[in-house]
Symmetry: D2
Subunit: 487 residues, 4 copies
């Protein structure tokens, strides 16, 4: 069986050549370094769950390539049910880790984006990208690897296209084409979960025109490829991760984002899936964003579940009934289920692509992005409101002070309410972590910004059809033209 154990997974990560830095230091072992061990543990939860009993069907499915039981993160979405299962898996992953496990999720989205696009390219251009992708995927499934997905370029000045930038490297581009592959340069930034990944799946960062054809490039590369350097970005309270005690309340999860610097990295042609065919970049983006933005509703619902649970715990620890917070908890449930449900609906109303891929409904997926960029923020606010002052910013002493031999007893005496002081402090710290700490996910711009989603919504909502309904209802035939937009 292809499925790996958490231990096998971590061993595999240890074997990679260290090329990741934080705070000016090389991270020699991502599985033990305080800056990365949390995200590795989070991803390891997925390996464990796949082999366990309760969640096996959530995290595993059957490979349509081999018939093997494989991680759902390495499977091609082929039906509405596959895509709904993907939404559920994202929710479960958050339930288990409290965090983004981006190195499985974004890589999964990337391979699924390239599946129909490479199929179309091969059919229309006579290329063999689809076969390359299929071969690589078989390898990935066989080894049950974890793959980051890298879409976002450094971009430079947002008013200029890649080729217009003063520095041509602001977006990843092909600097050399060789018989056996290509050489790429540039940076992918804010890439999630790289510390926990064995490989990186790169997509073009935008829909490009001819002038930017060198930027139309997709490939997959080992994370430790020569010329590739990673720097981990910092996040709130990240230095706590080297501390002891409950100030990092979650040890089995954690989110990281990295900057990936490609300094003339060679990519063998078997791992290149798009190289200059800029007219397909739009379809790559569409094939990436629709399932990604549908399923992200499951992610944030999953974290919302944890927030609801934490809010209930702290209320009780404070000595209050959760019933006193019925309205607020209900709103949290509504928020959680809404992002989950809109994703499920986008899944259900998709359509089959000739390549066998299931294509998520565009309109609903982008509607979900708008919700994902708003509702979880209200859920966080409500969590803090229920929790009372103790879980608001800056209101809980450190673990070191909690356990101080001289005055720690005072801290503990006065933190005790309807549970032990320690239980109350742990839950309060969890809420800080979830709402204003390292556990907060980047759901606003991750996978693209809500303003971009709104443009897609306007393009796909069918306003002309709606105008037709209105006209029919009142029997209106007169043409009424759209004037030029006023300044």
């Amino acid at each position: 069986m292809a499925l790996k154990t958490p231990e096998q997974y971590k061993q595999s990560l240890k074997k990679l050549k260290p090329n990741m830095y934080k705070f000016g230091k090389l991270i020699t072992d991502v599985t033990t370094d305080p800056n990365t061990r949390g995200t590795v543990e989070g991803h390891a939860q997925i390996y464990a769950a796949a082999l366990g009993t309760e969640y096996a069907d959530v995290f595993c499915t059957t490979s349509h390539l081999t018939g093997d039981r494989v991680s759902r993160y390495l499977a091609i979405l082929q039906t509405a049910d596959d895509m709904i299962a993907n939404c559920k898996m994202k929710r479960a992953a958050y339930n288990l880790t409290g965090t983004c496990t981006g190195a499985r999720c974004a890589g999964h989205a990337a391979m699924n984006a390239m599946w129909p696009t490479t199929f179309d390219m091969d059919k229309e251009l006579g290329t063999n990208y689809h076969d390359r992708l299929k071969d690589w995927l078989r390898y990935a499934q066989d080894n049950d690897i974890t793959i980051s997905g890298a879409l976002t370029d450094a971009k430079g000045n947002r008013s200029l296209s890649p080729s217009q930038q003063p520095d041509p490297d602001m977006n990843v581009h092909i600097v050399e084409v060789r018989d056996n592959g290509i050489v790429v340069r540039g940076a992918k930034v804010m890439i999630c979960g790289c510390a926990a990944a064995q490989e990186v799946f790169v997509l073009p960062g935008g829909a490009y025109k001819d002038a930017d054809k060198d930027y139309a490039v997709s490939f997959v590369t080992p994370k430790d490829a020569p010329g590739l350097t990673l720097v981990e970005a910092r996040h709130p309270s990240d230095t706590r991760e080297a501390e002891e005690g409950f100030d990092v309340p979650v040890k089995i999860g954690g989110t990281t984002q990295a900057y990936l610097f490609f300094q003339d990295v060679f990519i063998p042609k078997e791992r290149v899936f798009l190289a200059g065919e800029c007219k397909y970049t739009g379809s790559v983006l569409a094939n990436f964003t629709a399932p990604y933005r549908a399923a992200i509703g499951g992610c944030v619902a999953g974290q919302g579940d944890v927030m609801a649970g934490a809010a209930a715990l702290i209320a009780r620890a404070n000595g209050l009934s959760t019933k006193a917070f019925n309205e607020k908890l209900t709103q949290m449930f509504v928020n959680n289920e809404t992002t989950f449900a809109v994703g499920v609906a986008a899944s259900a109303l998709g359509r089959k692509h000739p390549s066998g891929a299931w294509q998520t409904n565009t309109l609903l997926a982008h509607v979900n992005k708008v919700h994902v960029a708003t509702l979880p923020y209200e859920t966080k606010r409500l969590t803090q409101e229920i929790a009372g002052g103790i879980a608001e910013i800056g209101c809980l002493p450190s673990y070191v002070d909690f356990t101080n031999p001289v005055y720690g007893h005072l801290v503990q005496k006065y933190l005790k309410a309807a549970s032990s002081a320690e239980a109350r402090a742990k839950v309060a710290r969890l809420i800080e972590w979830l709402t204003i700490g390292a556990g907060v996910p980047g759901c606003m711009h991750g996978g693209g910004s809500p303003d971009g989603a709104k443009i897609v919504i306007r393009g796909s909502a069918g306003l002309d059809r709606s105008i037709g309904y209105a006209r029919r209802l009142i029997g209106l035939d007169e043409a009424i033209e759209e004037p030029a937009a006023k300044k």
Copy 2:
């Protein structure tokens, strides 16, 4: 084929004995009386669409009883796809009529609610309700009839149960059991579309305990049964419906609600589906509300589509580009798609009942009720905001003044903007009708109130499971009890 034409449908309505009143007068022909012809026309649109080309598959399906092609409004929901199709049908019905076509929709929900419940009763109690229902449904399909669904009782004092009311008739109840049937008394109120219905499907209005067993009753009756009297309620601007011109902008739709007074109406036993088995009333309600509240998201999305179209038309008629209203239109699209999508997701995540019925997901259906009770109100507000003053309350002269021989030319001269005065006035009137006129649907309390939905949400959202996730993340074993709610 069982499908009837609009003309056959109307002829059938004409044959019913008149027993419906409004403004103190008996309505002798619902197809021509100004108070009811609009809603009849609205329902007739459905008959027409079923026989047309564009919408046939939306409004028709195959009977699982006979294999005949029947109206989807007369079919039992058996799969997720059936239920998704139901959501789409509701949206299309609104697109075509701008209004609630409640006499098909609520009856459909009622029969689908009784399908699994009668199945369970027969199995557990040895009754033959399910067969009765099946027989009646075959008849209904064969004759393609339109059936109101009647759930809401007069209720009296909301703090008292039916049997505690000073007047025992405040809820419909069985006053006599005969060999061949039952006699019922009471009132069902605010029942939608009765004018357009041939029959009425009655459900119990609540989940009852033993003391209220006489109130546990479900049956179907011809609308013109002896002892049944209907009074149409009034709605905004209802007297306009007897006027000429554009002040009633929509002639092919309209919503009505009636009060049904049952003064010792006899129901033959073949048409009785529940009579005293109070322990099943909870399941009737659950089986009614879940699909109803899921699908109502399609309804309000459908009207939201019309509002988006009308808003775009009036903007252009005012001389403005719809682009100037991009943010507002996008929010309208988001609102429309959200209620639609959450309903679709509730459909997709349902489960099969042994009776063959598809049971919509409870949690998501009730989450949708909350959205339905809020989002359309914002959509209306946005429509008025885009429209400018002309479509706000009280800002457009009457059709009579518009066409007055003495000063009508002045009205027209000054109503002209970027379209003809008449086109602009018609669209403005449509917006009044949709946002603050007779076209406004009763989506707040129709099919039950949002506060009731919130209770279901709290019951089904899985807070204990979420607490478990939070505990697992921080390794918390200590029990933290729920205290009694504070006063």
Copy 3:
């Protein structure tokens, strides 16, 4: 004393030459015609309150011209306290009438807008507009008259300026200048409360440039001036106003809007306050909109108060405790107080103009417009949510049916809950009237649209100052330029 009694006020209205139409008919007596008597009664409440005990100080003040006790609606705002009193007066007027009493309110705003502007013009141009205005105001105070304020032109195509319109009359303009006055043509539309007014105060409808100087005109005219014709617009359920019983629940209030057609109306020069000085039109608008948009927060709060009261009554009539609706009522209170408070703050933070006028804070006044265009809509929705189905659209039979000799007893039997059937029906009808009936105010676009307010907000919010704060905090000196807006 200058204050008139309600009876004197009505007698004065009766003396005006009839020139107002609705439904194709001339309204010969506005005090008795069903289409106008409600708004006249509403305005009469103000006369009564001014002479009563409870509200006298709310509705009266001391004239700074004569020292007489005069209606606050005829006084110049000279201090922050005056303007705060204005906000309170607007709220009280709504409390007493449930409606807009626009013929006192908008005229008051118009005269206050012209006070500083005419002062500046006279000083800078050597005109004598300010003295004219002072003379007229003395006359208005002496006779305690009611004056509509007319700002909104028909406008035609919104993309074109007045002089660019194909029809030059789309905005009111001067068509002839005579030695003793001017002749004006055009239409002012959607003007509130004209039926209850003796005079009309006209302001220019926009801030005009030289090309549109003929449209820069302000004057006051008797409502029955030769050449002036009024057509009342229709509003929801307006024909009910000729009916008996509770279907028009409020007899002492009512809102109307009229279209005013100026067909070459002569205005004597003593009543002309601006004629061609287009560079002052911007200041007229600013001087009008700031106090108007501040005080309108009091209006909608006043109606919100009535909604809160009605919601509490219907809850109890339904047999439910208002405590069950604590969250909803609290939100209604918050909404009411917010629009009131932001108006009060705009008043408090104004500044003194050399003319003696108090100028309301621009930024806060326009922020309030945004709230006024959103919060009352939520208040309405909450009112309907609390009320239950009976007060939602189309759910209550007519008074005629309620009192029908044959079946009226059935209607009454089943409407009874925890109060009498009649009390419950009356309250439900009040809620319909307030939320979706003739009592709904035009708070979205009345006094200008929220999008216009947002432009003012952006212009006055001080973004550059805020950028300075951010720079100072991080010690940032580097210039970062605003790029051109992207298409």
Copy 4:
């Protein structure tokens, strides 16, 4: 002159005996310790501004005790204008520091709360608390000291009153009464700005009944009183404060909260202002919360200003026009001005107390608390939305990596957009700090929780009066009783 320089202020802090801990260590000098120097610098800004030119009138006023020019933070609020000036001062303090300067603000609120209460007590009970307070205040003004205000007790189990707690120390209480003073025990927790304070002003934490009279205690104490120990709580990213570079973007501000442990602290009677008179505790709370909750709207507006500035800067640094974010910026402006304006209105509509104190309007102050607990959260969300991914959580490398000699050039190369890399990084870091970092204020529960405010709103909103309006409008005399609340 009483006003001190920033340097004098800091010297005075240095003279206090160290009794404050964080991370297990005694903070020997709060002006230089990385954990406290930021908040000290923030408070020092106020001293500097008071002596400068631009803000002198904002931060200073005339003592009504001595006629001296004193810090407004040490003055008694006596008029509406004083209270409006207080709102403006809070906004300015945030503009200058980006943070809460709680040690001046809460102490100011505490002394103003006790002013009318001690006046009433002396009059009714013959005590001499008011004179004690006056004497102390004269001293405070003469020395221009900074005073923390301490209200919140540890509380223990929220369902139990202080005397019902298993541990009687969960709320600060009098354990001994001596001739010359009292001895107190307990903890005040989450007290803002203590590091920057010279004294602490203690108020009772609730409105107490007789059984809890020992908990009714108010006094002021030097921060370094024997028996008083402070532990600083931790906040997001607090360890960064010991780092170099831009990762702590703001050096002239910072918020801290401390736990204050009173282990039998002696308070001389001249500094005791309430000791056992529990019936006055309700009025203390009311006198504290109303001005506090009004003015806090200015605080969060002040930080909102900084967020608007930061958002504009990052948009431009990204190469985008702020015009592209017009809707979002406008919403931020609306949010900022709303909390500011409702506070100003609460100030303007207050009333004079016989003691000379100005009492802020209760209803509007608590309405503002509701806004303060919601609107700033949306402002933060919008700031992150405008900023793009770079300012979202976890997306920017550390200063150490930015300046790393080996790969720092890569980080800088790829962070450059339309400004320098450093400017862009600094602004992005400021946004992290403001929205999810150490700069986030505790505006949810600081000064009391929104649910508490809602209870006050319901009590003071005048529902019965509103019911009267509704009754009068429809001529309803029938009594309709409030039923018992349903379970």
